[in-house]
């Protein structure tokens, strides 16, 4: 009788086990979903950065305004996560340049947040990545917060020395750069 009463009060079901498994499973699925979404998002944007870098480098080579070069490549969510940096590479036909004048423009386009962005609320009101979950070690995917790509384009590509003065200056500069670069390269062989 006692045993029967106990069975009625606490029926032998697996609801508790299901609840525990569901809690663990759904949490893992949610985490996986978040990670997958983030990875897919960043990978898509990685491809966009290389396209944007090509466009920006092309604009830099033509001495055009490249400030809006990323505008056509990334979704605009009201916060611009894309950044462009310009670098002039001293380059000669033999690689190294002696004399310092530019030979190529290097555009680097990055998308995402830098670790520094997490230290301020200027960009985002709060950073979810700084949330610390109980019993979980501090975990910030600092190496996947942003993606970047680069592309180069000939510097001053519109200047084909149509002016006689430009041609003379260009030839002299090229002679200095190439001879210097070649000597430097030869020196590095020994």
């Amino acid at each position: 009788m006692t045993a029967l009463t106990q069975r009625c009060r606490f029926p032998e079901t697996r609801a508790g086990q299901a609840l525990v498994e569901a809690t663990i499973g759904l949490a893992i699925m949610a985490l996986t979903w978040v990670l997958i979404t983030h990875v897919c998002y960043m990978r898509t944007n990685h491809v966009r950065t290389v396209m944007a870098a090509r466009h920006a480098a092309w604009l830099m080579g033509h001495k055009a305004d490249y400030g809006a070069a990323t505008g056509s490549f990334f979704f605009d969510n009201g916060v611009s996560l894309a950044g462009i940096s310009e670098q002039t590479l001293p380059l000669s036909a033999v690689g190294k340049s002696w004399g310092g004048s530019g030979g190529a423009k290097l555009a680097t386009v990055s998308f995402g947040m830098s670790p520094d962005d997490l230290e301020t609320t200027d960009i985002f009101p709060f950073a979810l990545l700084r949330t610390e979950i109980p019993f979980m070690p501090s975990m910030v995917l600092t190496n996947y917060l942003s993606v970047q790509s680069f592309s180069a384009w000939p510097d001053d590509v519109d200047n084909t020395w149509t002016d006689r003065g430009d041609a003379l200056a260009g030839v002299i500069s090229e002679i200095v750069k190439s001879i210097g670069g070649a000597l430097e390269w030869l020196g590095s062989l020994f």
Binding site: E21, I24, G25, L26, I28, M29, T32, I36, V39, C40, R43, T44, H46, V47, V50, M51, A53, R54, A57, G61, L89, L91, S92, A93, V94, G95, G103, A104, L106, S149, F150, S151, A152, W153, P154, V157, D158, T160, W161, T162, D163, R164, A167, G170, V171, E174, S178, W185, S188, L189
Partner: protein
């Protein structure tokens, strides 16, 4: 739990494959960026070479014009000196008159102006030689610069060494076609670097155009004999120049009181008088460039999946691959090597004898291959093969 685990596994695998596809697209874009920047750099330097040669043509033309006028004036003075010497001799009995003084002054002026005629002719010859030499050097050096800069730009844009890319690419193409590549890939892989001391050079861009287009390394310009002034002095002018100078020399150095001054100054005449100069003419052909990216490991290392602790005491580095049958080819589980092509050419006024519009510009054009049935001409917008990038 089992169901959710299975679903998660499938989702993760789908994402991994998506990542691989993403990586492949990325590598393909980088390869195209590399070859496009290489083609643009090559066209830029060929255009600059054309403009330098055109500037030299123009300088040659303008220099010849100035020297022709100067030499003609000098020779006219030679002819005039004959008359002024006659006038001096006629007026000699009236040496106290101003007419005699004027004749003597005129003779001094004309004889002095006559002296440099052969020197001007010689200077013109040296001037033309120097200009032509510079043009010859430019027509050789600028294509080399084009190749050098194209290679550098391809490297800076992320292009890989083609000596590694091409064997990998051929291997993947042959694999896709069911042809066993076997040891041939290893042989070609050994070609992955140039012999020392050139092994520090990375060949990231290769000009296809050198195959089947012998004008590529000559910039497409050739010396051409000029016609008409100021490139070529007329035959009658050459004869008149000789006659005028010899007559002037005879008159100035032997026919009057001041002749002694000119006996040493007036040397032999030019041999021959006048000139027939060459200028450079032509335009570069199109260039087709190749750059690429080497194959990459795929995102999750699917080609090297291993059992974790498949047997007692095994470590991760033990040989416990999930599958080791004959079908397994690790190369299949890789993001393949990519090759990209781009063509460029120089547009604007071709290099001609003389023009005020020195306007050569480089331009990327639809891809042309050396074995196309029709070479592109100026103004062509579409490739015969319809390849775009």
């Amino acid at each position: 739990m089992l169901l959710s685990g299975t679903m998660m596994f499938l989702v993760v695998m789908t994402v991994v494959l998506n990542g691989d596809m993403n990586k492949a697209v990325y590598e393909r874009i980088v390869a195209q960026n590399a070859v496009d920047s290489a083609a643009e750099a090559a066209a830029l330097w060929e255009a600059r070479g054309c403009n330098v040669i055109q500037h030299l043509n123009n300088i040659h033309y303008e220099g010849n014009k100035i020297l022709f006028i100067a030499e003609s004036a000098s020779l006219v003075s030679c002819a005039a000196s004959v008359f002024s010497v006659v006038a001096v001799n006629v007026a000699k009995p009236f040496a106290w008159t101003s007419a005699y003084a004027a004749a003597v002054a005129a003779t001094f002026v004309t004889c002095t102006l006559c002296v440099p005629a052969p020197k001007i002719d010689k200077a013109q010859e040296n001037f033309a030689k120097a200009i032509n030499k510079f043009q010859e050097i430019a027509s050789t050096v600028f294509p080399i610069l084009a190749v050098g800069y194209a290679n550098q730009l391809a490297i800076k844009s992320g292009g890989d060494n083609l000596l590694e890319v091409v064997p990998q690419y051929l291997a993947s193409v042959l694999d896709a076609g069911g042809v066993s590549w076997g040891g041939a890939e290893d042989v070609l892989s050994n070609l992955g670097s140039l012999p020392a001391p050139l092994d520090s050079i990375t060949l990231a861009a290769f000009p296809w155009t050198i195959i089947g287009d012998d004008t590529f390394f000559k910039l497409g310009v050739k010396p051409k004999e000029g016609e008409g002034l100021p490139w070529k002095t007329p035959e009658w002018w050459n004869t008149m120049a000789n006659t005028a100078y010899e007559a002037g020399k005879a008159a100035c150095s032997d026919g009057w009181e001041g002749a002694g001054v000119y006996q040493a100054a007036m040397g032999d005449g030019a041999d021959p008088w006048g000139w027939t100069d060459k200028y450079y003419q032509g335009n570069p052909g199109y260039m087709t460039w190749m750059a690429g990216k080497v194959s990459q490991d795929e995102v999750a290392g699917l080609g090297a999946l291993r059992w974790l602790r498949a047997k007692e005491g095994a470590t991760f580095t033990d040989t416990n691959a999930m599958y080791s049958g004959e079908i397994l080819n690790p190369d299949i589980f890789k993001v393949p090597a990519f090759i990209a092509l781009a063509s460029s050419q120089v547009e604007g006024t071709p290099v001609i004898s003389y023009t005020e519009s020195v306007d050569s510009k480089g331009k990327i054009i639809p891809v042309y291959l050396p074995f196309n049935y029709k070479k592109p001409t100026r103004g062509d917008e579409f490739s015969p093969l319809g390849i775009y990038h």
